[in-house]
């Protein structure tokens, strides 16, 4: 397959309603051209996972997702032998008196191999997008498993031998920096850091995702969020929270923000009671900075 040019990719992101800056387009382009995984880091809710989803949609290919968690091991990520199936097969062939080697080579064949996301991703005909989500949640041992796949595009199964990739998948790794990733893994990837968006970018994202929103309200929401992120919060809200909030407010058919509305809907944006308390304490100041005057009755 011919790999798309950079202009192409930027257009493709735009078509999928993913508002990005040039850097994101460039990273995706280089990752595809150099056939290297792209490691995307950034705070929660800035659209890291979304990149992979958009890519899969735009390239019209499968998205294979591997959600990492503590204790994730190779049987869940790479492959597993279908033990019950093998056992049944052995029982069934008990009377056939076939040679031991033959039997062995048969039960350790593709037929009894359960493919897990990583193996599945490299054995596709059309290169899929492989999303390895929240890689920093997985244990360090798991990273070592990944190295073989990421650099050589192959997986070694002791009973079967080495399986080479039929197509090289586009790999996106995401992380929240909950744990420092190993240098070996970083070396194999291209790196992209996505931060909270600037006001203009956030506004255009809101306008694209929630088209029914009042222009003034949209701008107010984004400005409020920008101010909110300045506070020292435990869980700083991301873009997804902005979109949720904008969606909620738009569906309430509001045309502007006021103190009461903000107070009653703050739970959409902040998910921690201490944060909510903190935000409520400094709400007047926040609204003043946002340019919303408190309603005078």
């Amino acid at each position: 397959m011919k790999k798309p040019s950079i202009v192409h990719i930027q257009q493709m992101l735009k078509d999928q309603a993913y508002i990005s800056d040039d850097t994101i387009g460039m990273s995706i382009y280089l990752a595809m051209q150099l056939s290297k995984p792209l490691l995307v880091e950034g705070p929660a809710g800035v659209g890291k996972t979304e990149i992979a989803k958009v890519m899969a949609k735009a390239l019209n290919t499968r998205l294979i997702r591997l959600q990492c968690y503590e204790g994730l091991d190779s049987t869940h990520a790479i492959y597993e032998w279908n033990y019950q199936h093998q056992l049944l097969y052995l029982k069934m062939s008990e009377n056939e008196q076939s040679a031991l080697e033959e039997l062995e080579s048969h039960i350790f064949s593709d037929k009894f191999l359960l493919q897990r996301p990583l193996l599945e991703a490299i054995t596709q005909k059309k290169p899929p997008v492989l999303l390895i989500d929240e890689i920093d949640r997985a244990d360090e041992e798991f990273e070592s498993f990944l190295l073989e796949v990421l650099s050589d595009w192959q997986i070694t199964i002791p009973e079967l031998g080495t399986i080479k990739a039929t197509s090289v998948p586009y790999i996106i790794l995401t992380g929240n920096r909950t744990r420092e990733l190993s240098e070996a893994l970083r070396r194999r990837c291209l790196y992209l850091w996505i931060d909270y968006p600037e006001f203009e970018k956030e506004l255009s994202i809101v306008k694209t995702k929630v088209p029914q929103i009042d222009t003034k309200l949209g701008a107010q929401v984004c400005r409020f969020m920008q101010q909110l992120r300045e506070l020292n919060l435990d869980k700083t809200p991301g873009i997804s929270e902005t979109i949720d909030w904008a969606f909620a407010l738009a569906n309430m058919h509001l045309s502007h923000l006021d103190k009461e509305v903000v107070e009653s809907t703050l739970g959409v944006v902040l998910k921690d009671w201490e944060d909510i308390r903190h935000a409520k304490d400094s709400l007047s100041e926040l609204l003043e900075k946002t340019g919303v005057s408190s309603r005078i009755l």
Binding site: I6, D22, T23, M26, S27, Y29, L30, Q33, L34, K36, E41, L87, R177, E183, R186, R187, L190, Y191, L192, W193, N232, D234
Partner: protein
């Protein structure tokens, strides 16, 4: 045309290699692979657009957030310097060598102090003198801490924490290591499936992971040490997930999240900014009482309580006694790290310590690394397995 392009390309590739070298001197870990990646990337980017080149190189050459953010400045600096001197290669090299020498000559003061503290094993007198110099250092110096050095302490504390908190349970769990056969489970699995033994199951002792509750005194009397304890608690918090840190002087504050989520300089500033009682008076009893009231479930028999304080208390001894007895009853061990206890003439005569002493399992000195190692040695008798004891011995003698 091809001939005309050739020297230009070599120059570009030479420049890229130089850029890599320049970045390497600024802490980027780049090898020939990265340089060749950068060159390949350049061939894919429209060369006429300098912004795109910068973005592309940034994606290829940076490895983490810090590098990603510093890249643009370094990149611009590099090209400016390249412009400035015509004999770019030689001059750049000279520049780096001289800057390297400079770093070698005048290392950062905070770093040196920390190193000194870490490796100091000499007389206590000297160390006390070290502390007063430590105090003179401003906040800013702490921010300048070299990441590698911090990582070094981290690794050390990590080792300690692992030894402290990983305990062998009498329960066993399945393992792939073929050391001990678990007969029960092997037979049971066989019975459940076909009636004969198909697969051996091996087992090993389960690890219990203890929680740690750190209570750190930041009152006036501790001022000499508290900043310095911040290093310690920062390293603790970063190296273990089941750890909660509170600092106290006249009131208690939970700083776990601040320590866990920010880099060192930020965390330090935020803590100093958020905690109004920094370097205030000490009311240990009242603080502990308040802590127990607001966090009644913070301790259980799997919690190791570590108190970092000198024991100077201006509050009610009765309240301290009561709180300490509750803490003692509800946790696994109480370890008191006392910076004064390192002094050879030290006697626990302060009222605070006198009151608390019956409820402390281990009173240990915490004034240098050696004393911290003693924490491990002191604990090993009471709750380590035989194997782990040998390990600790290795560490403490190292």
């Amino acid at each position: 045309m091809a001939i005309g392009q050739l020297p230009q390309q070599t120059e570009l590739s030479g420049n890229i290699v130089l850029l890599c070298r320049f970045l390497r001197h600024h802490g980027f870990r780049l090898g020939p692979t990265e340089a060749s990646d950068a060159l390949t990337a350049l061939s894919l980017i429209p060369i006429s657009n300098p912004r795109m080149i910068q973005q592309g190189l940034r994606v290829v050459l940076s490895r983490n957030k810090d590098q990603y953010e510093r890249f643009v400045d370094l990149y611009n600096e590099f090209w400016e310097r390249m412009k400035r001197d015509n004999q770019s290669k030689r001059k750049l090299n000279d520049m780096h060598e001289s800057s390297r020498k400079k770093i070698g000559q005048e290392p950062e003061p905070s770093l040196q102090m920390l190193k000194k503290w870490l490796y100091s094993e000499g007389e206590t007198q000297e160390e006390v003198a070290g502390y007063s110099r430590m105090e003179v250092l401003s906040k800013k110096d702490f921010n300048k801490m070299d990441e590698d050095e911090l990582r070094l302490i981290m690794r050390l504390i990590q080792k300690m924490v692992r030894l402290l908190t990983h305990q062998q349970s009498r329960l066993r769990k399945a393992t792939k290591l073929m050391h001990t056969l678990d007969v029960k489970r092997t037979v049971r699995l066989g019975m459940r499936r076909t009636g004969d033994i198909q697969r051996f199951i091996f087992s090993e002792p389960k690890n219990k992971r203890l929680k740690i509750l750190l209570l750190c005194d930041v009152s006036k009397s501790m001022e000499l040490y508290s900043r310095f304890f911040i290093y310690l608690i920062y390293a603790f918090q970063q190296s273990y997930d089941k750890i909660t840190t509170h600092v106290f002087s006249t009131a208690m504050h939970d700083v776990s999240k601040l320590l866990a989520n920010y880099d060192f300089g930020q965390a330090f500033e935020l803590i100093a900014e958020r905690i109004p009682h920094w370097s205030g008076g000490t009311r240990i009893g009242q603080c502990f009482h308040q802590f127990l009231m607001t966090n009644p479930r913070s301790m259980d028999k799997k919690t190791l309580v570590m108190i970092l304080s000198d024991g100077w208390d201006t509050g009610e001894p009765a309240l301290l006694k009561e709180s300490m007895s509750i803490i003692h009853k509800s946790c696994r061990k109480v370890i008191w790290l006392n910076p004064l206890a390192g002094h050879p003439n030290y006697r626990p005569e302060v009222t605070g310590i006198q009151t608390a002493l019956p409820y402390i399992d281990h009173m240990v000195a915490a004034h240098n690394l050696e004393s911290l190692r003693q924490v491990l040695v002191g604990l090993r008798g009471s709750f380590r397995s035989y194997k782990a004891k040998a390990k600790i011995k290795g560490i403490s003698s190292a």
